[in-house]
Structure formats: C-alpha cells, structure tokens
C-alpha cells in the first residue's frame, strides 16, 4: 500500500494568475520576498484578490534558504492578521516558509520540529493555502516536504506532512520570464535531481514514476533553452511544469542521497540548494548504480538514448547528465562550489553527520554507512568516479 497526495487544483497556462479572481474568502495574507514584490507580481496577485473581494495583507520578508527565525517573523504577521487564505508567491523558500507558518498558525501547540508525517495536524480549520511558484525547481508547490534551516544547529530540518500540500497551485509561465539564467539553471537542476531520485527511490511506485519520467524528459529538452534565452516562453513554461511534476514524483516516493548530501553542504557552507545538489548528483547516481541499473536504462530510453547494451545505456545517461550540468554552468564537483580543500577537510565530519541524519537516506537504493558517506563526499569533492 502507498498513499499518493497531490494538490487539489492545479491551474496552468497563460493568465493562470487570473484564477485568483474566483477565490472565495475574507482575508488573504500574501507571503513573498522583496525581489518578487519589486517585479510587480505581488501587485497583480493583490489586484485579483481584491476583485474577488478579499482583504489583502503582504508579508515580504521571506529569506532565501529560510531559517526558523524567518518563519517566526512571518508567523507573527499571520497571527496578527488571521487570514483564511495563505498565498505564497516566490521560490521554494517562500513556499516552504508559508507551509511551516500555516502549520504553526493552525496548531500553536505544535513545535516546528514536530511537523512529521505521523503528527495529525488538522489543517484547514483556519486557512487554506495557494502556492504560486516563480522559479522552476523545488517543486514545493506540489510536495508535502518543508525545508527550514535550524540556525542554532546549522542543519536543514526536513519536515513533512501530507496535510501541507497546497490546496491550489497556480503555474503561470509569465512569472518565470524574469528569472535570471543562473537561477533558472540552479532551480532546474534541483528539479532534475528531484525527478531522478524520485524515480530510483526504494519507495517509487507506478504513479510517482509517471511524474518522474515526464519531468526528466522535459528538463533535458527545455532546460538548456530556458537557460540560454529567458524570453523563450515555451521553454520557460515547460520547465515550470516539469518542476511541479518532479515535485509530485519525489513527494510521492522519496528523495535520495544527492539531497542528503546537498542539504548538508547547503547548511554547512551556505550554498544555494540547486548548486549543492548539482555538485553531488553524478556521484550519487554512480553510488546507486549497482542497485538501479534497470531504472537508469529506462531513464536513458526516456531521453532517447539508444545503445546496444544496458551498461552503455547507463554510461551514456550519466554522461548526458554531466553534459547538461556543464551546458547550464552548474558544478559537477564540490570543489567547483568554491570550497577550498582545507575548509572541506575541516568540515567533513560535520557533513557526514548531517547527511546520515537526512531523510534522503531512508529510501535511497543503497543506504550508505558513515564510511560510505565519508568516501562519497571525498569522491564528490574531486569528481572521482565511484568504485565502491
């Protein structure tokens, strides 16, 4: 038995934002950041909501890779305003902040680190949630995962509850056109890692597979174009959908060690999520290879690779992943993140401890020991091919 959880309504396509005019309620709190606000997206959302006769307030202080402190600042605004809609507009950080705040608003008795799949939260008695992503990567709009940085312990808390999946997701491709190429690549590679890990997870299933394969195909087809030309509407639109599909894939199976290691690197060295995952993606696939060769062959077929043997199919797939990373200027090694060998060696134990504690380890095809993780980080630093 496995349970599939998805957003109730997904609105896609040109002028999708106008769906907000149909929302019924009293008060909406828009959760966003200052950059998104400066791009006039927020004023459009606000206008549509006012047309729907809702009162609107804006919280614009979400930070990138959000901390617990940042969540509590937003929570104050929510508690003061008492909205019946929480509307997140921004990247994964904004949507994750809104999800965490939503839980704490509805359940003041729950501590943030108690948000887990077994805690019954009873959300939606005070508010519902709309997610409007402006980047195409984390897939947070479709997932039941929340990543918040615990600044005291310098770790990324991987929180999860099926109840935090958004009621409504709005994927308006117009919102992605202003995304700088670097951000399009960073987030796009996060989506690729989400889809690959969702597909090879031990918790994969026939439903999550459909989302994962579709996402992988779209990312290989459209990420290079989306990166090269922000004005390529078709590529930006397809990447927006691909990111949501990849989110739906891993959310209904599980992430793997690329995320476990990526979260550790992100927390220790303050590296944006997409880049830290990119730096370990190839290493993680190579480590898992002996357990998932058939799955990688299927992904290779999905992107049109034709070779005479499975071994060659897999080799070619890994090569294609590397080519894509290079093409969009993403790091293939931890060294390429600008971390010196000395810094890396000093923090290696900490990286391993954090990866061991990650939920990305749970359903990975191979569950690494501490020694495995130590070697994986060292191999990923150099970009050395995994041989153990």
């Amino acid at each position: 038995m496995w349970e599939i959880t998805l957003p109730r309504t997904i609105v896609i396509g040109e002028e999708a934002l106008e769906y907000l005019k149909t929302i019924e309620g009293r008060r909406a709190l828009i959760v966003t950041d200052r950059v998104i606000e400066s791009l006039n997206f927020v004023s459009r959302v606000e206008k549509h909501l006012r047309e729907a006769r809702l009162d609107v307030k804006i919280f614009n202080k979400v930070e990138a890779e959000p901390s617990t402190e940042s969540v509590f600042r937003c929570l104050e605004a929510v508690r003061e305003y008492q909205p019946d809609w929480i509307i997140a507009i921004g990247g994964g950080s904004t949507i994750d902040t809104a999800k965490a705040v939503w839980v704490l608003y509805e359940r003041p008795d729950v501590k943030i680190d108690e948000i887990n799949p077994l805690t019954k939260l009873g959300l939606r008695s005070k508010a519902k949630m709309i997610a409007i992503p402006t980047t195409s990567g984390s897939g947070s709009e479709a997932t039941w995962a929340i990543v918040i940085t615990d600044t005291k312990e310098k770790r990324k808390m991987e929180l999860a509850s099926r109840e935090v999946v958004s009621d409504i997701v709005i994927l308006d491709p117009e919102l992605t056109l202003s995304m700088p190429p670097r951000l399009a690549a960073d987030t796009g590679i996060d989506a690729l890692a989400n889809a690959i890990e969702g597909y090879i997870s031990r918790w994969r299933n026939d439903i999550s597979d459909v989302f994962a394969v579709a996402a992988v195909k779209m990312i290989f087809n459209y990420l290079p174009r989306s990166f090269r030309d922000p004005g390529d509407r078709e590529a930006r639109e397809k990447m927006h959908y691909a990111a949501m599909l990849a989110g739906a894939a891993f959310s209904n199976s599980q992430i793997g060690i690329a995320h476990a290691m990526g979260h550790a690197i992100g927390a220790v060295f303050k590296i944006p999520h997409g880049r830290s995952v990119s730096a370990v993606l190839i290493t993680s696939i190579e480590y898992n290879l002996r357990e998932i060769e058939d799955r990688l062959v299927e992904l290779a077929q999905a992107i049109g690779i034709k070779e005479e043997s499975n071994v060659k199919m897999v080799e070619k797939f890994i090569q294609k992943v590397g080519d894509l990373l290079r093409e969009v200027g993403e790091p293939l090694t931890i060294r390429e993140l600008g971390i010196s060998r000395e810094e890396f060696d000093d923090r290696l134990d900490e990286l391993v401890d954090k990866a061991m504690m990650s939920t990305g380890t749970i359903a990975n095809p191979r569950i690494p020991t501490r020694e495995d993780y130590m070697r994986l980080f060292m191999y990923a630093y150099e970009g050395r091919e995994v041989d153990f």
């Binding site: 496995w2 929180l159 031990r202 918790w203 061991m356 990650s358 939920t359 749970i362 359903a363 569950i367």
Partner: protein, 137 residues
C-alpha cells in the same frame, strides 16, 4: 541450528546478542538514546498483546526482555503492530520507516528523531532477520 520461537524470551535474548555484534548498527546509532516497547497487538490468533522491552543506548542494546504488559515500563518509544506485520518485518519484507508511514505499525515517540536514524532502523530489522526464527503463526 537452534530456532527461536517468535515471540519468546529466547528470541529477544538472541536478538540482543546479535544486535551487539552488529558493527554497522553500532556506528549508525552511536548517538542514539532511547528505549522501546515492541508490541505485538492482539488479533490474528494473538489473544493478548505481547510486549518486549528493548533498551538501545549509544549503538548498543543494554537490555532486552519480555514484559507482562505495556504498563510495566515507561519508554521513549512504542512500536506496535499485528503479528503478520512483525513477521514480514523480521523476514525483511517490510521497510520499517515505510511501514510506519503506511500505518502498518504505530510509532509513539519522537518520529523526527527516528527519521534521523534510518540507517540504524534498517540495521535493527536486518539484525532481526538474522535470528533463526520459528514463527508461531
């Protein structure tokens, strides 16, 4: 080879011994502090709930024995499920974390903490599957 009936005092003692030989468990649970009640729920031919106490501390099993009831000991965690699911778990046919999430087992206690020790959880189950076991049902 001697087989241990599951459930029995002999089985849980054999489990303790086997777990304390498991170096991968020791390493992956080196910071773990928290004792468990493992409970087989009544039903499926089990008349009354069967309770094991397992004290896990810093990668070792300090103690393990059967208890007359769950009230006999207050623990940090309670892991509970029907006999058929225990059987599947011991035979390696169920992933422990997946089983909790799919409510095949109930877990009382800090789920977040358990999720951070998934390698240890996996080794706890692998160890159980190494005990020569005779299932009563």
């Amino acid at each position: 080879m001697e087989k241990y009936k599951f459930p029995s005092e002999g089985w849980i003692k054999a489990y303790k011994e086997e777990l304390n030989k498991n170096k991968v468990y020791e390493e992956s649970a080196k910071d773990w502090e928290g004792d468990f009640l493992f409970i087989i729920s009544p039903g499926e031919g089990i008349e009354k709930e069967i309770v094991f106490y397992v004290d896990l501390w810093h990668g070792k099993c300090r103690d393990a024995y059967m208890l007359p009831s769950r009230e006999a000991k207050k623990t940090a965690f309670v892991f509970e499920g029907p006999y058929s699911n225990w059987k599947k778990l011991i035979m390696g046919q169920l992933d422990p974390i997946h089983a909790i999430m799919m409510r095949k087992f109930k877990l009382e206690g800090d789920m977040g903490k358990v999720l951070r020790y998934t390698k240890a959880a996996s080794e706890l189950v692998k160890t159980a599957s190494r005990i020569p076991t005779e299932f009563i049902l």
